[in-house]
Symmetry: C2
Subunit: 151 residues, 2 copies
């Protein structure tokens, strides 16, 4: 019993200590995952942008639905930047992501915070609030892209 | 004023009547969107599968977190199968998706329902409940793939 319990604890400790990349079968899956999450997020963010910029009529319900997806998706991509995923070629990710981990993480967390505010703003059903939060979120996207994404 | 109001109403009616594909800049974006959403969903569903099949230790909190993403993502891909997206090549989507729209929609709705049940099961913190709901959800994935996805 003691041995079995030790094995369970060891397995649990391993699972806890395993890097995020261990969640993926291979580094290419991690890359595809982060790109997929970012693409889905960008599509929904763009729909809010179309309202904010007057290209489509403002629809408070649609804005909130899109902001919900944006806020949900903003939490996901970062697990796909784990150790080993820097070796995958054909991506726009800059090497600085892995050499400036703490700074990159700050950007990730800023986006999660900003998209949370975007959702809150969307829920006020006020276009001006949405515009302000959209601009702030877009600035957060841009700051990270400027630092960590090749054009 | 009357004319302006009519224009606003006409614009609103158009937005309402516009097909889902109108949400995307081009059909290729719709395809990429649905593939991205399905890929993200599959990654998180697979993590629940790993617990259900005993490949990784059961972790009730992680199961629920993964089930939340699965249930959220299950709602998204279908907007990416709009009119015109059947013309995009290099996808596994079968033509029957567009010739059997009502039946395909039933499959979509079944997945949304099943992933809702999966999340509820995960929240019970009971591995047997999770196993049952996982099996049922996996069957729903398979039924749709068998009918509408080329291998």
């Amino acid at each position: 019993m003691k041995i079995a319990a030790s094995l369970v604890l060891a397995a649990a400790a391993f699972a806890f200590a395993a890097p995020a990349s261990a969640q993926f079968a291979k580094p290419e899956d991690a890359v595809k995952y982060r790109q997929s999450a970012l693409f889905v997020m960008a599509q929904h963010f763009g729909r809010i942008g179309a309202m904010v910029n007057g290209r489509v009529p403002y629809d408070a319900k649609a804005a909130t639905e899109n902001a919900e997806v944006v806020a949900d998706m903003a939490k996901l991509p970062w697990a796909g930047f784990g150790p080993g995923t820097d070796k995958v070629t054909n991506t726009k990710a800059k090497a600085e992501i892995w050499t400036e981990q703490a700074k990159f993480k700050e950007h990730n967390e800023k986006l999660v915070a900003e998209t949370g505010k975007l959702l809150a703003a969307a829920k006020t059903n006020n276009l001006d609030n949405l515009k302000t939060a959209f601009g702030s979120t877009a600035g957060t996207c841009k700051a990270c892209h400027d630092n960590y994404r090749n054009q």
